[in-house]
């Protein structure tokens, strides 16, 4: 996983639930490619293709609420999205993102500041987001949890543990 992520943001509101991110009927898949083809399709015509031209999702409170489906994180990666910044995350999505190797950052301040299409730069190591000429700091993850993300997810982490 790269420690610096840069790109254009797409902005959602509050309470984007995991049924919206990936509908239940696609949980028969677990691969990024196929899940990405149906990510956010509930939002109507043009989705998910519209999101492919963005790099980072920004959302309000409680992103990923609802179902514990891990494929919500996988589907977002399937769109080519490199990170999600939200005011807050639902706990199951938070865990699934880490376990799936999708970087997530909590920053209500950045959510309030950005608009669709803005470019931001996230430095996971430093715990800072750069937008326009301002810096937004965010709390770093606990070291033990960050290791999972750094290795690209829990499966890779487990594999490394098994080899030891």
């Amino acid at each position: 996983m790269e420690s610096v992520i840069e790109g254009r943001v797409y902005k959602f509101g509050d309470n984007i639930n995991s049924d919206i991110i990936i509908p239940g009927r696609y949980l028969i898949y677990i691969d990024r490619e196929r899940l990405g083809q149906h990510a956010f399709e509930m939002l109507g015509e043009g989705f998910p293709d519209k999101l492919r031209s963005f790099d980072i999702l920004v959302a309000g409170r409680n992103f990923g609420c609802g179902s514990a489906r891990e494929q919500a994180a996988t589907a977002i990666q399937g769109l080519g999205i490199k990170a999600v910044v939200a005011s807050s995350f639902a706990r199951t999505f938070y865990r699934n993102a880490i376990n799936d190797g999708l970087p997530i950052v909590e920053s209500p301040e950045l959510y309030a500041a950005v608009e669709e299409g803005d470019r931001i730069r996230i430095d996971l190591e430093a715990g800072k987001i750069q937008f326009a000429d301002k810096e937004y700091s965010f709390p770093k993850m606990p070291e033990s949890v960050r290791k999972i993300l750094e290795l690209g997810g829990l499966a890779e982490y487990l594999k490394a543990q098994l080899v030891k």
């Binding site: 509050d14 309470n15 639930n17 049924d19 919206i20 509908p23 239940g24 009927r25 949980l27 028969i28 677990i30 399709e41 509930m42 109507g44 409170r61 409680n62 609420c65 609802g66 179902s67 514990a68 489906r69 891990e70 994180a73 807050s88 639902a90 706990r91 199951t92 865990r95 699934n96 376990n99 799936d100 606990p142 033990s144 949890v145 997810g153 829990l154 499966a155 487990l158 594999k159 543990q161 098994l162």
Partner: protein, 420 residues
């Protein structure tokens, strides 16, 4: 310590824990449902072959049961083979019902247990004093192999209930009231404990609805502290009765809570959650007369025996409106048998209902699919856009009583007219 603190300290081998602390905890039970094949595929992919403790696994094939396509059939076959090859004794096939209800009925959940599983509504186990919380399928595989996972100790909130429900009002209405008031993340990442004079009078079934719906305000876990009703529910269900130790799920007198929320439940009305978020709740008076095409009496929230009895009590001797189809999906095989023996199923069928096999049913998109523009009133716990079919369909949520009254009228209706 609060109940969540007590359970997390016990399961991580610590004398005490405080909110915000991250612990490595060893769950007593790891539940996986239809997602089992995904966890099995993770094990295969990383080359793991050994389980930490096979007796801690519980597998229930509940979503999409029986299989409706070859893909589902193949996935279920993978799950069955996994269970057989590893000697998983707590394996329940497609005939059994919804995982949560099946595991509680079978006596696999006792006060003080830590239970994780591939389903957000694992919070329901708190109805029996167990800490239940949802995780993804990769993490389930990880707990299968290592026996443990990291968990953050949540802050706790007390919800204090006083008074008694008026006729026609149930714990579903209480929860919709709370979710509407507090919001979808009103208790985000918190542990909730229910107290107050009302609680001892609430059945285990009502408590299941409470701890299940608590998920929709963002909780990590929710509890009703064990009491005589809990003991009574578990009597005869436990292989080893000594496993019942209520004190493992009792908060200390000096436990620290983030806040208290007081509710006088005698002042509540029937509530309905409107499309497309559970927090979008309204008192029944504001939605009476809303058009419906289908009603769904099902899900882990409200398809227990008591729920079927409440609906049948209203439907007995009456017919549902010809403009409405009524789908009834009992929560488990045991519930279905009980409803069959007592005549409740007959009442529901004679009133015009379609009874399906037990399981998650239409709540998980298995049958009862909605077409463009259709409206469903459901006793489930989620009304998210497209959850039951078209993204141009709508789902309202209510109690079984409101559902039964509405099925008769053909539009959303007040159950108090039928329940005195």
């Amino acid at each position: 310590m609060t109940i969540a603190e007590k359970i997390l300290s016990t399961k991580s081998g610590k004398a005490s824990v405080t909110p915000g602390e991250i612990v490595e905890a060893y769950p007593d039970l790891v539940m996986s449902h239809t997602a089992t094949w995904r966890s099995a595929s993770v094990m295969q992919r990383i080359g793991a072959t050994k389980l930490y403790d096979v007796d801690r696994l519980a597998i229930v094939l509940d979503h999409i049961s029986p299989a409706k396509t070859e893909k589902y059939a193949a996935d279920q076959q993978t799950s069955r083979n996994f269970a057989r090859n590893h000697g998983v004794t707590k394996f329940y096939d497609v005939d059994s019902g919804i995982a949560h209800l099946v595991l509680m009925e079978a006596g696999h959940v006792v006060p003080g247990d830590l239970i994780v599983g591939t389903d957000s509504h694992c919070t329901i186990y708190g109805s029996l004093g167990a800490l239940g919380t949802g995780i993804g399928y990769t993490e389930v595989a990880s707990v299968w192999i290592t026996g443990k996972l990291w968990l953050k100790v949540p802050e706790s909130i007390r919800i204090i209930l006083n008074g008694a429900f008026p006729a026609g009002v149930y714990s579903k209405d209480l929860m919709l009231h709370l979710i509407g008031k507090l919001g979808a993340d009103g208790c985000g990442y918190k542990s909730v404990e229910f107290y107050g004079g009302s609680v001892s009078g609430l059945s285990v079934s009502e408590r299941m609805t409470m701890t299940n719906l608590a998920m929709e305000m963002g909780v990590k876990c929710a509890f009703v502290p064990p009491d005589e009703k809990t003991a009574e529910y578990l009597r005869g269900r436990l292989q080893d009765p000594a496993r019942y130790r209520a004190e493992l799920a009792m908060a200390d007198p000096d436990a620290v809570y983030e806040r208290d929320i007081d509710v006088d439940i005698s002042r509540l009305e029937p509530m309905v959650a409107c499309p497309h978020e559970v927090e979008n709740t309204k008192p029944i008076g504001e939605v009476i007369g809303t058009h419906i095409d289908q009603v769904f009496l099902g899900s882990c929230a409200n398809a227990k025996y008591e729920d079927l009895v409440v609906a049948a009590g209203i439907l007995k001797g009456r017919k549902i409106n010809p403009g409405v189809r009524m789908i009834i999906t009992p929560g488990s095989k045991q519930i279905m048998l009980e409803a069959m023996n007592s005549g409740v199923l007959q009442t529901l069928i004679e009133s015009g209902g379609l009874v399906t096999n037990p399981g998650c049913g239409a709540c998980a998109g298995d049958g009862g699919t909605l077409a463009d523009g259709e409206v469903c009133l459901s006793t489930a716990n989620r009304n998210f856009i497209g959850r039951m079919g078209s993204n141009k369909s709508e789902i309202y949520l209510s109690s079984p009583a409101t559902l039964a009254a509405s099925a008769i009228k053909g539009v959303i209706a007040d159950p108090r007219e039928f329940v005195k």
